[in-house]
Symmetry: C2
Subunit: 570 residues, 2 copies
């Protein structure tokens, strides 16, 4: 096998593919150089003057190593891994460190396996991090639980690259035995452990890192970044749809340069399609003043080093031929993308079959629910005063407001008021659990809204002003196998969008999905949802019982500040 590389390297044989007349980034010296880049099979064999069976003229263009996304949840795009790849590969990303945390909360290890297998048909290296915190909190019913024993069993598998972001940082710092078992298993297997420790400093940070954790994508403050890097942490520069910390690049110095890497974490399909992926991060980093050579090194060699991806992230002999040819180091428009030696995208369009879908039964029909009745949504209050959740537009932190609500026949009456019922219906294990709450100020009127994306356990979140519509919405979500729904009590119509994969992602193409998604969102706004909210996705975080202040899970109303369930009666 090596002979074919060696003989082409010394020009005894023609190469398979040559990027002619390239200006290319030498990440090892941080300089731009010129030459023909010769590729044989999946490897670069050399730079010099080469001839190839296929030649691409790169005069005036710049060749970079393929970008590596250091931390991403594919599920946040609501797209299948195949469709996700069809959007990001043409942008220049050739490797991702994927943490299938969301789908694993729904489907367990079958979710991990699905992401791994579905990714095999696309020209994208998908390194699977075993989700470390499933469920994310003990205050809700998830589709799966991965305890220490489960992690130990699975971390050793060949297709598992490492252990996903260890969000349960109090568990690490307090030596929770189950947490310790998880960390020790990953450590014994010699696998990298990703971190997630927002605003953890000092001795707590020392303790957290003694779990063998080596990255963090939650840093934003100078002192936090500097402390973490100093303690051996690779710090992600994140370019998600809502969470961004591109500003971290301000703290890059000559001395700490090699410890910054790029990631996207959570990025919506619309952003991927319209703005881009890591190419967009690079564009913005450079626009913000970061040296483009440094920016690219963060997205390539640094990330390869962080994750021990040998022969990745550089343009040199024997390195994987993952290459992106851009117009320049300002716009980063990808003219060509080469993955493992194959030309896989041109002018932003994929050259690979984007219609393939791997769809195992294990990730389909994941809404497990008995037929819901209007009576299931009766909310009994002791008196008139009750706690209602509120939310600031654009955020995920909720508030708590004491509101007055009338009751009739032992059921809170919200129709015609600015208050809605907000229920979380367990959808994994047929427990019949319904957590009930009130929400003020969303604006929606005349029916119900529902969604099967509800962080991180992904039960059904329903919001509505009558019980009948809420039951219909739940039943519709069951019928379609997950997704988003609107029940219009005036017309009797039900409108829905299917997210057939675990109730989180669609097997459809991004374009038609977005078109239908936009229509459904528009319908929600037309039924009163204030424009400052994201209609469905603002609901999806109302069950995340680790972010203040008042949340609701299938187990009930939860006060994040006291970290305990709370009575709705005020």
């Amino acid at each position: 096998m090596l002979e074919k590389y060696i003989s082409a390297a010394k020009r005894d044989k023609q190469s398979d593919l040559v990027l002619k007349n390239a200006t290319y980034l030498d990440v090892f010296t941080a300089t731009l150089k010129k030459g023909d880049i010769a590729v044989v099979g999946e490897k670069i064999v050399g730079v010099g003057e080469y001839r190839g069976a296929t030649e691409i003229d790169c005069t005036g263009l710049t060749v970079l190593p393929g970008y590596i996304d250091g931390h991403v949840h594919i599920e946040s795009s609501q797209l299948s891994p195949e469709e996700f790849a069809s959007l990001i590969v043409p942008r220049g990303t050739t490797t991702i460190i994927a943490d299938p945390h969301e789908i694993t909360n729904v489907c367990g290890m079958a979710g991990c396996e699905y992401i791994a297998k579905a990714s095999q048909s696309v020209p994208l290296d998908v390194k699977i991090q075993l989700p470390s915190c499933v469920p994310a909190t003990p205050f809700e019913t998830s589709g799966a639980i991965l305890n220490g024993k489960d992690i130990a069993e699975n971390i050793v598998k060949d297709y598992i690259f490492g252990l996903g972001e260890f969000m349960n940082y109090p568990g690490v710092i307090n030596c929770d035995p189950d947490v310790i078992q998880k960390l020790e298993a990953a450590h014994s297997a010699g696998k990298v452990i990703d971190g997630h420790a927002p605003a953890v400093y000092g001795y707590d940070l020392n303790a957290y890192l003694c779990g063998g954790i080596s990255t963090d994508h939650e840093c934003v403050l100078k002192e936090e970044i500097e402390e973490k890097i100093s303690k051996g942490v690779y710090v992600h520069i994140r370019h998600g749809s809502s969470t961004q910390n591109l500003g971290n690049a301000k703290y890059i110095t000559d001395g700490n340069m090699r410890r910054f890497i790029l990631c996207t974490d959570d990025r919506h399909a619309a952003d991927l399609k319209e703005k881009g992926h890591l190419d967009d991060a690079l564009r913005k980093l450079v626009a913000n003043g970061l040296d483009p050579v440094r920016a690219v090194i963060c997205a390539t060699l640094n990330c390869a080093e962080c994750y021990g991806l040998k022969w990745h992230g550089a343009i040199a002999p024997f390195y994987l031929a993952d290459l992106v040819v851009v117009d320049n180091l300002k716009n980063f428009n990808a003219k060509y993308v080469v993955k493992s030696g194959k030309l896989v995208a041109k002018d932003g369009k994929p050259l690979f079959d984007t219609s393939v879908r791997y769809l195992p039964a294990s990730v389909l029909n994941t809404v497990h629910l008995k037929e819901m009745q209007a009576s299931d949504f009766i909310l009994r209050l002791k008196g008139k005063k009750a706690k209602a959740m509120t939310i600031e537009p654009g955020g995920v932190v909720t508030g708590c407001e004491i509101v007055e609500v009338d009751s009739r026949n032992g059921d809170a009456q919200v129709k015609g008021t600015d208050i809605l019922k907000l229920c979380v219906v367990e959808r994994h294990k047929m427990t019949g659990n319904i957590g009930k709450a009130l929400f003020k100020g969303y604006g929606f009127k005349g029916g119900a809204l529902g969604i099967t994306i509800a962080h991180d356990s992904h039960n059904i979140i329903l919001m509505g002003d009558d019980n009948e519509s809420m039951a219909k919405a739940a039943n519709k979500l069951k019928e379609i196998g997950g997704g988003m729904v609107i029940v219009d009590s005036n017309s009797g119509e039900i409108h829905s969008l299917t997210l057939d994969i675990a109730g989180l992602m669609s097997s459809r193409d991004a374009e038609s999905l977005q078109r239908d998604s936009r229509a459904l969102i528009e319908r929600a706004h037309s039924m009163g949802v204030k424009r400052e909210y994201e209609a469905f996705m603002s609901l999806a975080f109302l069950s995340l019982a680790v972010i203040p202040k008042l949340k609701v899970t299938d187990a009930g109303l939860f006060d994040v500040e006291t970290f305990s369930f709370t009575d709705i009666n005020a």
Copy 2:
């Protein structure tokens, strides 16, 4: 296991060892910082304010990560691995990448195993590189042959860290099938392959690197260093006894900084004892103007990254507690050395038992020879004119001079001339091979000199002016199991120094060995060996048939320029 680190990190429990009031090097930001360094078991758990069961006050001192030697042949010290460690650990070296090329040429895999096992009793991480080129040339008889199949069988073993310097670069470039098998085996096993490719450039270098080779310690020229780094090679800055390229540090830039590492390759016991190991390299690099912080990073983090030594090479939570406490970053005098959390040296003296020796039968009594007779050394010449080797003092390149030699009874007569007989006697497989040559200008008179170190196959090299003495010398070397010998034909005395381990190294302590070694060398000089030669060690390279011009192996006189055996008759 992790609990003990975590609980100490957050100060719930006392640490085992604390370096108090330290100034320490943060290699991740390339800055000096202050704090107490807390150690539990073999790990650093944090820097801050800590208390420990043992505390060492480091006020006014500087703590660095333990040094890593990226490439070294222990055998060149003529010391056992245990004694070698007793010299280098107190200097601050805590990890070495050891290539037991010499002993493996004598003992085969038993040599590798010996180095690995002998190293287990000393506080030094010894990572064993499987020697890739045994024998180094096909023009001699070595004690062992490791062909592609042997490499494939052994590279997968747990105690084998990687594949040693691939000196046979023509074999790589020309796709020699046996070479390819070796490289593919190492590559499949996911193990690092060290390089050795002096003055290999351009397409040849591309081809060589397509063998999956990732380091080089033979660079000296700016353009060679720059090209190699640009092509993904980690470049060693070498501080051997004779081969040095500390000047490489001149070519360090902000951009390529992470690709330079330190090594010693071949370093004699006297230098280790009197000058030092990597501490001496650091001292000289800094004296030559290299920023001391950069120098230390090359000797620590960079080397750890190059060899994939996770959790090595830095002072940060969860990193291995390999630490050296120095007086300052100019003198690098090691006051304390901590290896895997244990204080192992103080004020340059080892605190561990230096008397232990692992001495398996497989590396002892390695001189296999029939009883030699004076007649074995008869040298028949066709006429008066013959080729004689010469050597420039201080070098290993030999010359060829046509000399006139009388013969009597069919044997060349050299006594009383400036010419000596130089014979290489095969000592591994009882082949009876004797390669015969003439040498001019060494100065020795009145007997014979012999040594069982003869690069790289380590047969016996003998030099003398009478056949009787040469036979006695060979027989003495057999009797003592290898080493160095002087036969004085005037007094009839035989003086020797035993190198009991493979005929290359002594199981004695460095001090008494050096004392006796110096006495023997002095005796050789008193018998005429010119002072500009190293008496015995200058002989040891006269059989190295890859360095010009004229060499002699057990198979005969070899012309390196034509790469073929040559007739002694001129």
